[in-house]
């Protein structure tokens, strides 16, 4: 029995109308030993691990309120916000949004890292993303070793501009 972590593979294409042998399992035994009274966790909430687009922010956002730029761009792109451990520890974002070795391991189609240096602990959670876009003022930041696209600039300038280009009326 093998458990599989997310990897970057595409399944065979669908062939409409193709049908394999279908078997309805006869599941016997006591299925009622556990009765769910109330879920402790709302399983209906979208999981960052399943997001096709993740927009993450780090200390380069400089203050907690600027994490709203991350949330806005994530929403605009139909994705989910993520955060480095540093800003989660600072309380700018909840632990459920932390990406990295001690947070979620994500493999989205697009991962935008804004103001994130690219420490190995963070990259362990996102380096298998199909496309990594890095925004950082430091051209020597480790994140650019992983990024497919890099923008050497202040994320507080770039994020509003991206929102403006995406037609977000709330972008300043």
């Amino acid at each position: 029995v093998i458990g599989l972590a997310p990897v970057l593979l595409d399944p065979p294409d669908r062939e409409a109308g193709r049908s394999g042998e279908r078997i309805e399992l006869d599941v016997t035994g006591n299925l009622d030993r556990v009765r769910v009274i109330e879920p402790a966790v709302d399983t209906g909430v979208a999981r960052i691990e399943d997001a096709r687009v993740v927009v993450s922010g780090g200390r380069g956002l400089r203050e907690a309120d600027n994490f709203s730029l991350i949330r806005s761009l994530a929403a605009n792109l139909g994705g989910m916000p993520g955060a480095s451990r540093a800003i989660v520890d600072d309380g700018w974002a909840p632990p459920t949004e932390q990406v990295g070795l001690t947070g979620a391991i994500v493999t989205p189609d697009v991962y935008v890292a804004a103001g994130i240096s690219g420490a190995s602990q963070h990259m362990a959670g996102c380096s298998n993303s199909r496309l990594i876009v890095a925004i950082n003022t430091d051209p020597d930041a480790p994140i650019f070793r992983y990024a497919h696209l890099g923008i050497v600039d202040d994320c507080l300038e770039v994020l509003p501009e991206l929102l403006r280009l995406r037609g977000d009326a709330g972008a300043s």
């Binding site: 029995v1 093998i2 593979l9 399944p11 049908s19 078997i23 309805e24 769910v36 691990e49 493999t107």
Partner: protein, 117 residues
Amino acid sequence: MPEGVLLVMTRPPGGGFAKGDHEAFAVASQLASSLGASLSCAVIGEDVEGAATEAAERGATRVLTASGPAFGTPGDGLVAAATAAAAAADPAAILVPRGPDMLELTPRLAARRRARP
């Protein structure tokens, strides 16, 4: 003698595979192909129709399903259904996508199959 590959997908979202299921299906498909063996998929959950159809359309030889409220939450129902699927398919390898159910399901299933997790 056990042969073939069984992919166990639990509690798929309505309408088709979860994201991790796509990737797991790709691995399972490649493994089955490299072994020259068949690929069976167990789809277990409250509503499995979309994912079961997708599994068949992507090339699963057999699709084993267990559906209903008993399989909509983590726990004994999923384990019982996965065990029944493994008994029916008698595979050489069972693959479980990473997800909320994997950590509980894999050791319990391995113990019932006397396999190694």
